[in-house]
Amino acid sequence: MRTDPAALRRWLRERIDAIEVGEAGTHETFSTGWRGLDEVLPSGGLRCGAIHEWFGLEPHAADPASPAIRGSWTPPLLILAHLAQRAASTRAGGWSIWIGARIWPTTHALTCAGIDGADDPARLARTLLIDPPTAADRLWAIDAALRCPGVVVIADGSSLDTAATRRLQLAAESGGGIGLLARPPHERACLSVAATRWSVRHAALSSVPADRPRWEVQLVRCKGAPSLLTDGRSVVLERNDAGSVVDVSPEVGERSGRAAIAS
């Protein structure tokens, strides 16, 4: 029997870690490149081998629940392009696969979303665009792509039910790929097993005098993180003139306090 409490504690820790492997996984994480986002995540970045949901932009100021405009939403393409590139640059092959014609970005969005504004034309050659004809084919394609090791999958995640997200999460775990799903904002109420869920909004005009596109990103849910970390604080991202998306959240004193809680 172990009598040394420190050794016992260590042993318990290892046991717990071993049990948690299935969920949290042995997969690494990658930094989003935005300090504000990395700080709210318990592991300091988005996890590989998991899916992450990004709820897209509501085009209207009006009630988003009204049926007339339910179908119209805009995926946060520049944010996804930035993340895809961050993720791809941390992996050897660096291939990214965009599934669903609705979320296909333009060549400029793909090449200009540089970490440091640097263009990379070879990135286009490492980007595949998939156009599944039906929703069932889309789900199948996302599943197949996630099972391919070492790719970043960015997909149109509209009208996925809980079982579908479970299927994709399992696919991502087995393949080790990163799944970034763009989902319409009105589906935020749908249950999902995604590792993280984020909502993206156009930054309110009153708060910032914007002359560039700005978005407010909020962590809605994060698996394995206490809910107080996700309680409605948002990060403001801006697309600068060089074409890259940067964190422009006001430096509030509160942040350091939160970082202390997180660590």
């Binding site: 997969h27 690494e28 590989c48 081998g49 932009l57 509501e58 085009p59 209207h60 100021a61 007339a68 405009i69 805009t74 995926p75 946060p76 393409l77 520049l78 392009a81 992996r91 050897a92 092959g93 660096g94 291939w95 970005p105 333009t106 060549t107 400029h108 969005a109 793909l110 263009d119 990379d120 034309p121 070879a122 286009l124 050659a125 980007t127 595949l128 665009l129 998939i130 156009d131 599944p132 004809p133 084919d137 394609a141 197949a144 792509a145 391919c148 090791p149 070492g150 790719v151 080790g176 156009h202 930054a203 309110a204 005009l205 914007a210 002359d211 560039r212 978005w215 697309r239 003139d241």
Partner: protein, 504 residues
């Protein structure tokens, strides 16, 4: 009929490399200038083409492979000869002359002029086929060779031109002259090669040929006792055959990029379908996942009597430990291009071609033309970064396939836009940057839009292609950044507004 001349460049002159029989009758011979040859032939019925040595040799090899239907051992003798080892074959045809007649007949039907001679040695056959007026397929006896070869010119010994000139200079014209000379003197003055050729022709030295080996196709087939329309049975058989193909490919250190499956259906034409892969592969499981959907949708008719699977487009693929590496000890952190190739194949097989695409920049300042969607057919290990550079202007991240007609509202005429009307939504515009004038590409002609690339189909409203556009970046009250444009029209008509993209 045309006279055909194959030309080559010799000392900066275009000379005849070889010519057809018709041209030869008119007096053309290899080595004369093409201009001279043209003068001898009717100009309208003369075809001159440059001689491609590599192509000629490939053709000769193919011809040799075709010749295997007559004799089992065939070797090529570039540039224009074939060696056929007919030993024992004459019995099958009822005599060597009958065999020769069949060969010459078949070759003639292919449109090839051939001379065929039989001899007990390769060297003598070479000489007889080229330097007798009417070569005979009946081989002379070995003992007769001396007398048969003696009157022939020394060139018949397969010696080069320099050697021939040297012999001519001292008056040796015929093989008989050489035979009269003492051997030791010949070897001292002209080297061993001349003696070797002489001995080979006379059968005093051994000569071997290198027969071509035809590549047997990688194929597996199974014929059934009777027709069956049970899909499971056919699937099982096909799967097994695909496995056999994979084993054959492994043996040859090859992979295939195309697999053809043929179903022999009773009372119907055989049904053939093919699957393509992005990279050469011999992974049976992967090939099966590609074949299976085709099989499921195949029309079996009254039943299938047999299945044949054949691999095409073979490429060398070295042995490697396949399955063990695919899982990856590091959780698959590195993107394996082989895995990616399989993914592309799987996606293409289920979704269809034209659904797996890649963006390629195109040199155009029209936003809907500035890219092209190309179908991905293969995955390179090292993707090229080709194509023109992108336009160095601010472009949105989302571009609508077809510009959406909108209404723009102003407080004062020609003043700033205050509101836009997009469908049911009328957001207020709080900031507007522009205009950026984009002129139409007049060199493409009017109405030349639509159908170019996948960006395509910029149809949908008339008058396009003739009007320049003024683009604005407009920010709505909700914080959206829209890319809208106004068609610049001539006087009279009112401007029309469109929404073309968004920074999302």
């Amino acid at each position: 009929m045309h006279a055909v001349i194959l030309s080559r460049i010799d000392h900066q002159r275009e000379v005849v490399g070889s010519c057809c029989a018709m041209a030869a009758r008119a007096g053309v011979f290899p080595g004369m200038t093409v201009a001279h040859a043209r003068a001898l032939l009717p100009p309208a019925r003369t075809h001159v083409e440059s001689l491609d040595d590599a192509l000629a040799e490939r053709s000769l090899r193919r011809f040799a492979a075709w010749m295997i239907r007559f004799v089992p051992t065939v070797a090529v003798d570039p540039p224009d000869g074939l060696w056929l080892d007919a030993t024992g074959c004459e019995r099958l045809y009822g005599g060597i002359d009958r065999l020769a007649a069949r060969i010459l007949g078949a070759v003639g039907r292919l449109g090839i002029t051939a001379r065929l001679a039989g001899a007990p040695t390769w060297g003598a056959a070479w000489a007889l086929a080229r330097y007798t007026d009417d070569p005979s397929p009946l081989p002379p006896e070995l003992s007769e060779l001396r007398s048969v070869l003696s009157p022939m010119p020394v060139a018949a010994l397969r010696i080069d031109e320099a050697m021939r000139d040297k012999l001519h200079r001292i008056g040796i014209e015929r093989i008989g002259h050489l035979l009269a000379l003492p051997r030791s003197a010949l070897a001292d003055r002209y080297g061993e090669m001349l003696l070797l050729r002489l001995d080979q022709a006379l059968g005093q030295a051994v000569e071997s040929i290198m027969p071509i080996r035809p590549r047997t196709p990688v194929m597996a087939e199974r014929m059934l006792d009777g027709p069956t329309d049970r899909v499971e049975a056919i699937e099982m058989i096909t799967r097994e055959l695909v496995g056999q193909i994979a084993a054959q490919l492994t043996e040859r250190e090859c992979g295939c990029r195309r697999l053809e499956v043929t179903l022999f259906r009773s009372d119907l034409d055989p049904l053939t379908f093919a699957v393509q892969t992005a990279r050469p592969t011999r992974d049976a499981r992967h090939l099966w996942t590609l074949v299976r959907p085709n099989l499921e949708s195949a029309h079996l008719g009254f039943g299938v009597e047999g299945v044949r699977v054949r691999a095409h487009a073979l490429a060398r693929l070295l042995h490697r430990q396949e399955a063990a590496w695919e899982v990856g000890s590091d959780g698959g952190a590195s993107a394996d291009s082989g895995e990616l190739g399989k993914l592309v194949d799987t996606l293409t097989a289920r979704l269809g071609t034209g659904r797996v695409l890649r963006l390629r920049p195109v040199e155009s300042h029209l936003p809907e033309r500035a890219f092209d969607l190309e179908t991905v057919t293969g995955i390179e290990d090292r993707p090229r970064s080709s194509g023109p550079a992108l336009i160095d202007a601010d472009r949105p991240s989302l571009l609508f396939r077809r510009p959406i007609p909108i209404n723009a509202m102003f407080l004062v005429p020609d003043g700033p836009i205050t509101r836009v009307n997009i469908g049911a939504d009328t957001p207020r515009i709080v900031a507007c940057i522009g205009p950026e004038r984009i002129e139409p590409e007049w060199w493409r002609g009017y109405g030349g839009y639509g159908g170019c690339g996948g960006g395509g189909g910029y149809g949908g409203y008339e008058g396009h292609g003739t009007a320049a556009r003024d683009y604005f970046k407009a920010q709505t009250e909700t914080g959206r950044w829209l890319w809208i444009f106004r068609e610049v029209r001539h006087e009279g008509t009112s401007a029309r507004w469109f929404l073309h993209g968004e920074w999302a």
